[in-house]
């Protein structure tokens, strides 16, 4: 593996060089090629752009702001601080190689526009590749939140099911946090379930902010973090979901990049990255999201809700298909929320029969919401080569998330390849929604997926309907992805082949 590193320290005479030497030695010992740029007091010689272009990953062992960091944009990296590199260089090298294996791949030759300005690239292709790299950076940082949060929530449902049965799964989300603070009992299964659920739910709260924040970070480097995260949080607050988070990621990133290029007096320059850029860019992102984007979303949701309510009494199979399509469209975004809220609101009606329309709607909505993460898990299993390493890892978690009716498990796939995933998601989810309605399954739990299966009437039909939608979505997404040429994916394949060659010849 080829690594580049930047070292720096406050004084610039000791740790900068000790870290450099330690990293070079540890790299050599582990069989990696490590080139270090020492940004110290003795002046720094910039790394040759061709070395940077060839590098698989970057190590920042820097206590000062890394100079010209944009040279390394798009590469997987670890940021460890100089002391860690001096004290435990082998550990840092191991972390860097792990990051390379897990993270965003180095761009294909020629795509690294900043590092290789001499190469004449098709500007259209260049922009496309970079947009995809920005997206993938956001997605790869979001995936751990999806996996950790989603699995915690699913475990919460699972423990609740074992502890108090299906009713426990319904109840677990209602346990107030104050109960955990005041009356947590290690002997109570439900308390553990609630602990898992709440922790997972809070981790999920970072999902859209992390996506947005790290897209902005990929675009604008550190100054992009704040407007990106804030924009993602506002997107959640106004109900815009991950689609809004994509918008705020790009908006925050480019705002921060633009402001960071302003020509300002020397006295102001010092406070630009810490105060001025985050302040201005966050404000603008907040303004745009709340005032310009938030209002139309709110009225859209309102309009959709009243339209859905006006449909009651019409053909149930068509309603099921429609609700399914809405569930699959934005995976936790505004349209998904309208369909879900429509179903959950129906549950509140008192004294319904076991097969009332309200319960059948809930079953259709739940089934449809399980389809896309399961389908992505299936697709990553049967057609590995169409997905990045990060997506394949996420695919494994998506089995559990989909089975637990956590639609957000599919967001990383959708964020990375928007229209292909949404088209396939809508197709399969709509089918599942219609099938569940046609088969007459009914469900009175608002969440839980397979963990509330005992509460579902005609459970086998329900499972069959989910499986049918899953297969359709997986087939469509595989078909659509097969027809495209993805530069990031190709770069990964090339890297994989090289790694295999090295492994064979070694």
């Amino acid at each position: 593996m080829k690594l580049v590193a930047v070292t720096s320290c406050p004084t610039g005479i000791a740790h900068t060089y000790m870290a450099a030497e330690a990293l070079e030695q540890a790299g050599k010992a582990a069989g990696h090629e490590v080139h270090v740029e020492t940004q110290g007091a003795a002046g720094s010689t910039p790394l040759d752009p061709s070395i940077i272009a060839a590098a698989d990953g970057v190590i920042y062992a820097a206590d000062l702001e890394v100079k010209d960091k944009e040279r390394f944009a798009g590469k997987p990296f670890v940021d460890v601080g100089v002391k860690k590199a001096v004290h435990d260089a082998p550990g840092v090298i191991a972390a860097a190689t792990a990051a390379v294996e897990a993270g965003v791949p180095a761009p294909a030759a020629g795509a690294a526009a900043p590092a290789a300005p001499a190469t004449k690239v098709d500007s259209n292709a260049g922009v496309g590749t970079r947009v995809r790299q920005w997206l993938m950076t956001g997605v790869s940082y979001m995936i751990p939140f999806v996996a950790a949060g989603g699995i915690l929530i699913a475990l919460g449902f699972m423990v609740a099911q074992f502890s108090d049965g299906s009713q426990g799964v319904i109840d677990v989300t209602q346990v107030p946090i104050s109960h955990l603070l005041n009356d947590f009992s290690v002997l109570s299964g439900m308390d553990w379930a609630a602990l898992l659920f709440h922790t997972g739910a809070l981790a999920f709260g970072f999902l859209v902010p992390a996506l947005s924040g790290f897209i902005a970070y990929a675009i604008a480097d550190r100054p992009g973090i704040v407007p990106g995260f804030v924009g993602g949080a506002v997107s959640v607050a106004v109900g815009a979901g991950f689609l809004g988070g994509l918008v705020t990621g790009f908006m925050g990133g480019f705002l921060a990049l633009w402001i960071s290029r302003w020509k300002v007096p020397k006295g102001v320059r010092g406070i630009m990255p810490v105060v001025v850029i985050p302040l201005l860019s966050s404000f603008v992102v907040g303004l745009v999201m709340f005032v310009i984007i938030g209002q139309p979303i709110a009225s859209l949701m309102e309009g959709l809700s009243s339209w859905l309510n006006s449909l009651s009494g019409s053909n149930l199979v068509i309603l099921g298909a429609l609700l399914g399509a809405m569930m699959g469209f934005d995976l936790g975004g505004p349209i998904n929320k309208v369909a879900y809220t429509f179903a959950v609101t129906g549950l509140a009606t008192e004294g319904l029969a076991g097969d009332a329309v309200q319960y059948r709607i809930m079953a259709a909505v739940m089934a449809a919401g399980m389809v896309t993460p399961l389908a992505m898990a299936l697709a990553t299993t049967v057609r590995k080569s169409l997905f990045t390493h990060a997506e394949r890892e996420n695919g494994k978690a998506a089995w559990l998330l989909g089975a637990s009716f956590i639609s957000e498990g599919a967001i990383p796939f959708a964020a990375a390849d928007l229209w292909r995933v949404i088209v396939s998601s809508v197709a399969g989810s709509a089918l599942t929604g219609a099938l569940v309605m046609a088969g007459g399954s009914a469900q009175r739990a608002p969440h839980g997926g397979i963990w509330v299966l005992p509460l579902i009437s005609h459970p086998w039909w329900f499972v069959l309907a989910v499986a049918a939608g899953m297969v359709v979505t997986a087939l469509v997404v595989i078909a659509l992805k097969t027809t495209r040429r993805d530069p990031v994916l190709q770069a990964e394949h090339v890297a994989d082949e090289q790694a295999e060659l090295v492994a064979q010849t070694a």
């Binding site: 406050p10 005479i13 000791a14 740790h15 900068t16 060089y17 030497e21 030695q25 007091a41």
Partner: protein, 151 residues
């Protein structure tokens, strides 16, 4: 290089000190006596400020106080061996070998290369061990002069 990085009179082989501040001060006094530091108190304050940012103790019993300072006339190294050990904030225990690096504030890059080379050598266990094994100031200075060559 007009001034060598280290000379035997910048090496103390039996430092006894209560804490890192006192140990550092003894080495500073060596630099001041050799005329490499014009204001011992001023330079000491600079070293303290650096040490306060992040302890300079390294694994393997090394303390590495250092600073760039206006009170330093030439890139210099003072070495102190502390048989009883003195804490430098390293996770694995007290330091028995102390390197005080003094860099001039306005030193040009070429001038500072020697210190970069020294820092790189310090990472190597064999280099540190040979200094720990050396018993007299002349040997210590000789090892450092021989091994630390700017690249």
């Amino acid at each position: 290089m007009s001034t060598p990085l280290i000379t035997p009179d910048l090496v103390a082989v039996d430092v006894v000190a209560a804490d890192r501040d006192a140990a550092t001060r003894q080495l500073i006094d060596l630099l001041a006596a050799a005329g490499r530091v014009t204001d011992a108190d001023g330079f000491h304050a600079d070293v303290r400020a650096r040490e306060a940012q992040m302890a300079t103790g390294m694994p393997g019993g090394i303390g590495l106080p250092h600073a760039r300072s206006a009170h330093v006339t030439a890139p210099s190294l003072a070495v102190g061996k502390v048989p009883a050990g003195v804490d430098f904030g390293a996770p694995d225990g007290p330091a028995t070998l102390i390197f005080l690096i003094a860099a001039p504030d306005s030193g040009d890059a070429a001038h500072l290369q020697i210190l970069a080379a020294l820092a790189r050598r310090l990472v190597h266990e064999s280099f540190r061990q040979s200094l720990k094994d050396a018993t007299d100031p002349a040997t210590v200075a000789e090892i450092i002069t021989r091994e630390v060559v700017p690249s």
